[in-house]
């Protein structure tokens, strides 16, 4: 199956940057996929408006897990302003880089929704 190609399966089986972050410089939030109850939480450590460390936790399918893993790698080093200025689709394209069929869009976009949600309530931009 094309969707479950090597790169996706690699990130699913060996997810990068899993864990939690604590501290005053950490912003975080979580979001759920209403169709299955999967939830993802992202933690971003911010120094001068820049994301210097990313961790995430959650339960999810292969698509959500690979998506969160890839996004966590991409976010490192980006500024909050850059991420805020991107549309969800643009962030998915740049930060996740693989596509899914329409029925799985919610799985793919769950990590994006979390990060975008964090940006709605932070003053660290």
């Amino acid at each position: 199956m094309d969707l479950y190609r090597e790169e996706v399966m690699d990130h699913y089986e060996h997810p990068r940057n899993q864990g939690e972050l604590v501290g005053d410089d950490v912003i975080y939030d979580h979001e759920v996929n209403a169709s299955c109850g999967d939830s993802v939480q992202f933690y971003l450590r911010i120094v001068n408006g820049k994301i210097v460390e990313v961790k995430w936790t959650g339960v999810g399918c292969a698509i959500t897990t690979a998506s969160a893993s890839k996004l966590s790698e991409y976010l490192q080093g980006q500024t909050l302003r850059e991420i805020k200025d991107m549309s969800e689709e643009e962030l998915a394209q740049k930060g996740i880089g693989f596509e899914v069929n329409p029925g799985r869009i919610k799985c793919l976009m769950l990590p994006i929704k979390v990060v975008k949600k964090i940006l709605t309530h932070t003053s660290k931009i």
Partner: protein
């Protein structure tokens, strides 16, 4: 002679290709496919009889009204109720909301108890949560036993709280369990409660007679029983419906309107405000006619056979755990399962690539899934056109999960 291979010929969509493979439709619990007879009945209404009902002294309007009322007669005959007790709504959820907001808001108060169950579809849980929140009543949920049946001793214990209403499903949409509706209704009545039964997953598969069950409300949707989407039924006992206030108000449900108040029409109009889905009702009547021709005893026999065959096959697949009772005699309509180590959505995507359409997720039973320690499951669900060969295709496609995930 009931032969699903012959029945299939009436369902145009079943010859469709999905991902270049023959569609194996195992999501009938979400919505059933529709036979040509139903599709044509609905289209025929618009082509030859379309006019608004209950108004206008013209022949076409009379014909449309007659078709709506004749559809009501079909439903009444099919479930053993009286015509004026049949209220057309959009779907099961709307029917339950009607009872929750009309009967519930007028009759529940702080300290009262409503009993429902952990196996309910959100449609028979969230409205009661809402009405309890508004009135101060308390919602108690009956647990299930290890087999996936309602815990009857727990139910009897909770009945001591003297509930005002007991609302539960006839057939669980996730576990497939058929609940002992008649016995439970009797016990609930003895405790002084009214009884509402969610029949969405029962009416498509077995003979249901509300007079025999002796419940007070029975609700179901047309689209799960070969009928169109957007038409559903609330059956209620006449003397109770008569005392209830209307849920939605406006045109069509009034007797007289004054500048500052109005009086209500008789049953069933009192609960059918606005222009009804007449074409949908006509389509539903056609679905009922189709099912009656097949014979509900035969429909149930086939249902049991397919459920039994699926249980048999799936129980032999490694890494797979079937939810609910293992006995087809007390199950209907569907078999849900967990594929250990692989998320339900991933399993469904792989099955879809083989043309096999199943439901994945929590099937609108989040509290039930949580109580089973699951976030999601996969559900194969059936109707009169489901064949054993469909189940063989399902099992074969499940084999592909191991190829992709190595589990």
């Amino acid at each position: 002679m009931f032969d699903p291979n012959v029945i299939r010929k009436d369902f145009p969509i079943l010859s469709k290709l999905i991902n270049d493979k023959k569609l194996v439709y195992l999501d009938s619990g979400a919505t059933s496919q529709k036979p040509s007879q139903v599709i044509e009945a609905e289209s025929n209404f618009y082509q030859k009889f379309n006019a608004n009902v209950h108004r206008g002294a013209h022949a076409l309007g009379d014909e449309a009204t007659q078709m709506l009322e004749s559809a009501r007669q079909s439903v009444a005959r099919f479930i053993g109720g009286k015509e004026k007790e049949i209220i057309f709504v959009r779907n099961t959820t709307e029917a339950i909301n009607l009872v929750a907001y009309s009967w519930g808001m007028d009759n529940l108060k702080s300290g009262d108890v409503v009993i429902s169950t952990i196996m309910e579809h959100h449609g028979n849980m969230v409205p009661w949560q809402q009405v309890c929140k508004k009135t101060g009543a308390k919602l108690e949920l009956i647990k299930i036993d290890s087999e996936g049946k309602l815990d009857q001793s727990y139910f009897k214990e909770k009945l001591k709280l003297k509930p005002k209403l007991v609302a539960f499903t006839h057939v669980s949409n996730t576990l497939g369990t058929i609940n002992p509706v008649k016995e439970m209704t009797k016990l609930a009545h003895k405790a002084g409660a009214l009884v509402l039964i969610d029949g969405a997953q029962a009416v498509p598969h077995m003979k249901v007679n509300v007079t025999e069950i002796e419940c007070d409300f029975y609700v179901f949707s047309g689209h799960k029983m070969l009928g169109p989407m957007g038409i559903g039924v609330l059956w209620g006992r006449q003397e109770i419906l008569e005392k209830m206030s209307p849920f939605i108000t406006g045109g069509g449900m009034i007797n007289e309107v004054f500048e500052d108040h109005a009086t209500w029409a008789e049953l069933p109009d009192k609960f059918e405000a606005g222009t009804p889905n007449v074409a949908g009702a006509v389509g539903l009547a056609s679905a009922i006619e189709y099912l009656e021709k097949l014979g509900m005893e035969n429909v149930r026999k086939h249902d049991m056979e397919i459920v039994g065959y699926t249980l048999d096959k799936l129980c032999k697949v490694r890494n797979l755990a079937v939810l609910g009772p293992k006995d087809a005699d007390i199950r209907s309509g569907s078999v849900a399962f967990e594929y250990k180590g692989v998320h339900a959505h991933d399993v469904a995507t792989i099955l879809d690539s083989e043309g096999v359409a199943v439901r994945s997720g929590h099937h609108c039973t989040m509290p039930l899934h949580k109580s089973l320690g699951l976030s999601a499951s996969i559900r194969a669900s059936f109707n009169v056109y489901t064949t054993k060969s469909d189940i063989d295709s399902l099992v074969k496609a499940i084999g592909k999960v191991k190829q992709v995930f190595g589990k």
